[in-house]
Amino acid sequence: MAASPANRRPSFVSSVLRIFDLSLSEMLWSRRSVFLALLVGGPILLAVVSRVVWMFGPNESLRINGGAVSGASIFGLMIWLLYVRFIVPILGVFYGTSLIADEVEDRTITYLFTRPIQRGAVLVGKYLAYLACTVLLILPSVMVVFFLMVPVGGGSIAQMFPSLLADLGMLAAGLAAYGAVFAWVGARVKRPLVAGLVFVLGWEPAVLLFPGYLKRATVAYYLQGLVPHAMPQDSTMSLLLQTFADMPGILPSLVALVVLTAGALWFAARTVASREYVLEQ
């Protein structure tokens, strides 16, 4: 006897879309959004201040280390120091690790797992909601910063536009990769936030400083291969990074990030599907 429509189990894709729809609003209007707004608003505020200083300050008023710099250079610097090295990894850690961990902590995961949907679809749907939430906030923020900063000092928007496209693609790829990796960490580890912060703030910067193959066990290594701007010379650490620079090409970086994202997401979905989550009373 055929199953009635009411009893039929929804497909994986429709389950993912349902969870995505449910999670996007939850993610956007949560307490964590204040943190996200601060992260996204910081660069915009900085760009506005720089623009105002340039407009009303003396000629060549924007300087770094005493040297006059153009708006395009400052934009490149902001992409490196604010977005690539800080905002993208930190967002990946905070949101990625919380996809499942929050449900466990709030003891609401039972409600999701008792629905007639595959467990893996819960994680993938939440991951897509994370990606939509962060991409829809970070990319417009980069766009606003670009239009505020690049014309400073006579920079050309037309000339810089291809690098903006590369920046947007690179940041989206970074958010996807970090999110997938930390979704897996969140599904697997008991204290995922600590593990994530140690990885992003400890392991990655340390390993990138030294020559050798260890840096290939980071996301930052492949992400830096996609950044179209020259690496800033802001500190001794940057100098060391440049000295031992072993940047992968664009294609190997892209392939590595796609494999990393797909692999981490698959492992995360498998972990969620097979693991028994014991809720603390």
């Binding site: 060549e60 050309s156 000339q159 020259a230």
Partner: protein, 334 residues
């Protein structure tokens, strides 16, 4: 999805779409925001042939009036005989009469010496046309008419091509070979000037509004530089270059190189980065040089490599006093 979320998604996507649309339009029509602030280079460019390989500009008035020039002048008082002699011969006082000067190198096949072509100089300022013409005629020059313009054609000496001069507009004098000056007169009534050369104009438009700048094809720069083969092979495929400097109490400048492809640009950045790291190690014990190196900023995206520098007034003071000290120690020996 709640209404609030829907508004957020639509707003965010609209921001992205508008930004991408504006950027795409700017990219496809080559629109530069700098067009709002200045025109595409000085007006004298209309007299420069389209095939010029090098163009340099200097705001003589501002440079002469700068604090830096006054400082150097008081530190190293030079004999002004040469300047006076030039003034007596041409009636031009370099300090007060010339506002700005534009020099272009044009490959005409008449290359002499180490120049990668024939130069044409376009100077704007206040000139005594009658005195200049009279002085040149005293030195054997002849006046001829070319399409309604008075050309003062100098005497050819020692096999060198003759130097010609013409006043293209009130306050604008052009000096160069006879062919180039005739070409400049032709361009006055229209024609293909450097303004129609998108490659060069792209470079010139992107130059910061410096007191002095230069832009051109890199091969024109290296072809007559007699660089050793080893050095030439080590320079990653640079096609175009530009440099600009702002001179006031200090000097701030930027050098930009456009390479053949992104891989060449990355190689060039690596080479420069290596030199900078080496220089930083070498000067770590000399704070006056270390601070200068700190001001060097390597940048650029895609096929562009940019290196900016800044010599602040304090550093120039130190260099001037170092020069004075050296002069002081050399004088007794002389």
């Amino acid at each position: 999805m709640t209404t609030k979320t829907r508004y957020f998604v639509v707003g965010s996507m609209l921001t992205l779409a508008i930004g991408l649309g504006v950027g795409l339009v700017a990219y496809s029509v080559g629109f530069s925001t700098s067009a709002f602030t200045r025109e595409g280079g000085p007006a004298e460019l209309q007299f420069v042939p389209a095939n010029a390989s090098l163009i340099a500009y200097a705001d003589v008035h501002d440079v002469m009036a700068s604090n830096l020039r006054q400082k150097v002048r008081s530190a190293f008082p030079l004999k002004e005989d040469g300047q006076h002699e030039f003034q007596n011969q041409t009636g031009i006082n370099i300090e007060t009469d010339i506002d700005h000067v534009l020099v272009a190198i044009v490959p005409t096949g008449e290359e002499t010496g180490r120049m990668p072509g024939s130069p044409i100089v376009l100077a704007r300022g206040q000139f005594d046309q009658v005195k200049i013409e009279a002085l040149m005629r005293e030195h054997g020059a002849q006046v001829e008419d070319y399409k309604g313009a008075r050309l003062v054609v100098g005497d050819a000496t020692d096999g060198k091509p003759s130097l010609s001069l013409a006043f293209l507009e009130p306050g604008l004098v052009a000096v160069g070979s006879h062919a180039l000056i005739c070409g400049a007169v032709d361009l006055k009534s229209g024609g293909s000037s450097i303004a129609a050369n998108d490659e060069m104009m792209g470079l010139i438009r992107d130059l910061e509004s410096g007191h002095a700048w230069a832009a051109g094809r890199f091969d024109a720069l290296t072809s007559r530089a007699n660089l050793p083969d080893g050095v030439v092979q080590q320079i990653p495929g640079i096609t175009l270059f530009s440099a600009s400097a702002n001179i006031d109490s200090g000097i701030r400048g930027t050098f930009r190189a456009e390479s053949r492809d992104e891989a060449s640009a990355t190689s060039l950045r690596d080479v420069v980065r290596g030199f900078l790291a080496l220089a930083r190690m070498q000067t770590s014990a000399r704070p006056e040089l270390a601070s200068m190196l700190e001001s060097l900023q390597l940048g650029g995206t895609g096929k562009t490599v940019a290196l900016s520098f800044d010599l602040p007034p304090a550093m120039l003071d130190a260099l001037v006093s170092l020069g004075q000290h050296r002069q002081g120690t050399l004088a007794p020996q002389q």
